[in-house]
């Protein structure tokens, strides 16, 4: 079964003014779609073809198959990223996630500050993650290119894409402004579900 591009979980105009419709046309319709197509092309006729996406990510990383890994991980990362945002997002995390964030980073404000600094400062292309170790400890993890916490035995909780293509249409070189706007759309309910 070939891998397929998931629909956005909201209308592509739903996150205005944080992200424009045009930004989604490219980011979802072109970039994410290209990762899916290239993953299918590279997985065709191999064991990867019939595996679950997460297993493809893990196995291709272990086997050092960048043409498969980069596209599989980017497919996974983007699918996850769309769900980290919502037109009803923003505010602060509640419940167990809110408590864990306060525990791990002193306060939600401190967490935001550190996460934003890491996201703005990640050099080159990549993603900044909030992830959870097996023992439940939270960590802010800036990772290059397609790399994901999955390959570091950590569970992704929240992520922001800081490849230039993620913000260049709406923000040009001003990555810190893009990161600042992200807080208005974060879907904390989705993030909360990830900690299990």
């Amino acid at each position: 079964m070939a891998f397929t591009l998931p629909d956005l979980p909201y209308d592509k105009t739903a996150l205005k003014p944080f992200l424009s419709e045009e930004a989604f046309d490219y980011h979802h319709g072109k970039h994410h779609n290209a990762y899916v197509q290239k993953l299918n092309a590279n997985a065709e006729g191999t064991d990867y073809e019939s595996m679950a996406l997460e297993d493809v990510v893990l196995k291709s990383y272990e086997e050092k198959r960048p043409a498969v890994f980069n596209n599989a991980a980017q497919h996974w990362n983007h699918s996850f990223f769309w769900n980290c945002m919502s037109p009803n997002g923003g505010g602060a995390p509640k419940g167990k996630l809110g408590e864990k964030i306060a525990e791990s980073f002193e306060s939600f404000e401190k967490f935001k500050e550190t996460f934003a600094t890491q996201a703005a400062g990640l050099f080159g292309s990549g993603w900044t993650w909030l992830s959870m170790h097996e023992d439940g400890k939270l960590e802010i993890l800036p990772l290059p290119n397609a790399e994901t916490p999955l390959v570091h035995d950590q569970k992704p909780i929240l992520t922001i894409d800081v490849w230039e293509h993620a913000y260049y249409i709406d923000y040009r070189n001003a990555r810190p402004k893009f990161v600042e706007g992200f807080w208005d759309v974060v879907d904390w309910d989705f993030a909360e579900k990830q900690i299990g």
Binding site: A34, P66, F123, G124, G126, P144, E164, H165, Y168
Partner: protein, 201 residues
């Protein structure tokens, strides 16, 4: 005023139209390149790293990440502006043309190899034509690593460089990096590339 300075562009922002648009050139030069210069000045101030830009990069492994990333950004962009120009394009002449033909078979074969290196660099980085122990060689580096850095995984003396960070082409080409690369050949200043070659061959 910091130790390192943003060089002027050797032509107007719109001089490379339509292959590279004026808005991209202006943001690339006044925001991105300027940002590397500012952060490099801060990085050498903070770390006390001493020496010319070239010396810093050739010893990049001994310096901070800030010197590596921003020094590389300053060096690479300074080279990039000079290997392009209005009235560019065409093919190299003279001994550079001979060296390219001898090494790659033909100019078209060289272009193909260089274009592949540029298109297949995953994430941000640069494609290069360098002179190293193998003579002329084509390769790529990630982020702002430069082939002259002691820690680069592709080393040599740069003759020609192409920026394939998304900021170099996104406003005009968006996700179509191969189209950017194909059109970039129209603005390559082969006289400047030839001068680079003569210095390092």
């Amino acid at each position: 005023m910091g130790k390192f300075q943003l060089p002027d562009l050797p032509y107007a922002y719109d001089a490379l139209e339509p292959n590279i648009d004026a808005q991209t050139m202006e943001i690339h030069h006044t925001k991105h390149h300027q940002g590397y210069v500012n952060k490099l000045n801060k990085a050498v101030e903070d770390s006390g790293a001493d020496g010319s830009l070239e010396e810093l990069l050739r010893n990049a492994s001994k310096h901070s990440t800030g010197v590596r990333n921003n020094g590389g950004g300053h060096y690479n962009h300074s080279l990039f502006w000079k290997v392009m120009g209005p009235g560019g394009g065409g093919a190299p002449q003279g001994e550079l043309a001979d060296a390219i033909n001898a090494k790659f078979g033909s100019f078209d074969k060289f272009k193909e190899e260089f274009s592949n290196a540029a298109a297949s660099r995953f994430g941000s980085g640069w494609a290069w034509l360098v002179v190293n122990d193998d003579g002329l060689a084509v390769g790529s580096t990630p982020n702002q690593d430069s082939p002259i850095m002691d820690l680069a995984d592709f080393k040599g003396e740069p003759v020609l460089g192409l920026d394939v960070w998304e900021h170099a082409y996104y406003l005009k080409y968006q996700n179509k990096r191969p189209d950017y690369i194909a059109n970039w050949w129209n603005v390559v200043n082969w006289d400047a590339v030839h001068e680079n070659f003569k210095k390092v061959k």
